[in-house]
Symmetry: C2
Subunit: 217 residues, 2 copies
């Protein structure tokens, strides 16, 4: 599958490298296609990895990951262009963290809205799936690094897009039954508002490489 | 220990009954001390259970549980009286759920504040510990009803109060190492903002009797 990964930070590089390893053709999109972060990743990623602007990365792709910082995601996706996202599964990994008040960050949107919903509202023809935002980048593509039968969540309005996302997660190493479908895109409020708990758990545990398992009878 | 349980709803009755079973002397506090909910519980609870106003229940107690609805908690605690809470461990089980916009509820406070912090700020001499608000009432006092090594959280500024709360949780059936200390009372933001995820999980799982386990290397 031709996949566009928007964002050159740790999350974008981790996911893009895993996708290349899985033999997908990956175009990493950046606001600065000539920037060091992008050129470095392209240099490391072999013949299946390339770099482009947000718009060209999205245009070339059948499926798009939003791995930009949450506070910049709507702007980045606008630069990618609605016409390059229409009809495509858009896996939104971003968290709307606001560091302007210091640590720990607050959320720039929450409670009666979420970044996932804002993205779906701004790009109504994209098939937005919120996923992977509840774990650290290292855990996203190496679930075995955390012990136990822990879980991921998918949220979105389009069942086929959620299936497509779940199949990709399975290829990352997540057992299919570890991925819990929480419902429509408004359930992204749940996974985004989990971040304050995640941040406190990181402090209590002394590591970012953890996850939660849902236990039910 | 003489314990005051403020609130006559499912959470208050469940916790108060467990405390009576554990041979504590329990006074359930209500805005309506002559109301049916309180009289019914007192009738069922044997010689160790009694009922009173919020103020009398708090005054008689060495330790207080806030089991009132989150939207009414500050008012209920004001009725209990700061002088009856000063120096006492106050275990805050409430979630600030706002049902005024329909289902699912939003939070009446979140992101840069929490109900736990508001209670601590309003009653600075009380030793507030946020706990138990991440599970259904039935799970609070019967952790074995959920499989797995799942977790609870305590948040508060006073280490001795958190130890006292943790010992009570242990008597409810929670293994001591299942209780994670998240830090000061501001970490109540984490456990309260988990509620939107909890609500979606309840929908996805079809039961309220579940919990999460924190998995870490």
């Amino acid at each position: 599958v031709k996949i566009g990964v928007l964002g050159t930070g740790t999350v974008g590089r981790t996911i893009a490298s895993k996708l290349v390893e899985l033999e997908h053709e990956v175009t990493m999109g950046s606001r600065s296609p000539d920037g060091d972060a992008l050129l470095e990743w392209v240099g490391e990623s072999g013949e299946r990895g390339s770099g482009a602007s947000f718009a060209d990365a999205a245009a070339a792709a059948e499926l798009v990951f939003n791995c930009t910082a949450g506070g910049a995601s709507l702007e980045a996706l606008a630069a990618a262009g609605a016409e390059n996202l229409d009809g495509k599964t858009l896996i939104d990994v971003a968290n709307p963290l606001d560091f302007s008040q210091g640590m720990p960050p607050t959320l720039s949107v929450c409670n009666d809205d979420s970044l996932g919903e804002q993205i779906q509202a701004a790009f109504p023809q994209a098939r937005v799936v919120k996923a992977l935002n509840t774990v650290n980048a290292a855990v996203m593509t190496a679930p075995d690094s955390v012990p136990g039968d822990h879980n991921l969540f998918v949220c979105g309005n389009d069942a086929a897009a959620k299936s497509e996302a779940t199949a990709l997660l399975e290829s990352f190493g997540w057992p299919r039954d570890s991925v819990i479908d929480l419902g429509d895109i408004s359930s992204a409020r749940g996974t985004e508002m989990y971040l304050p708990l995640w941040l406190r758990l990181m402090g209590a545990l002394g590591t970012a490489e953890f996850n939660i398992a849902v236990c039910a009878p």
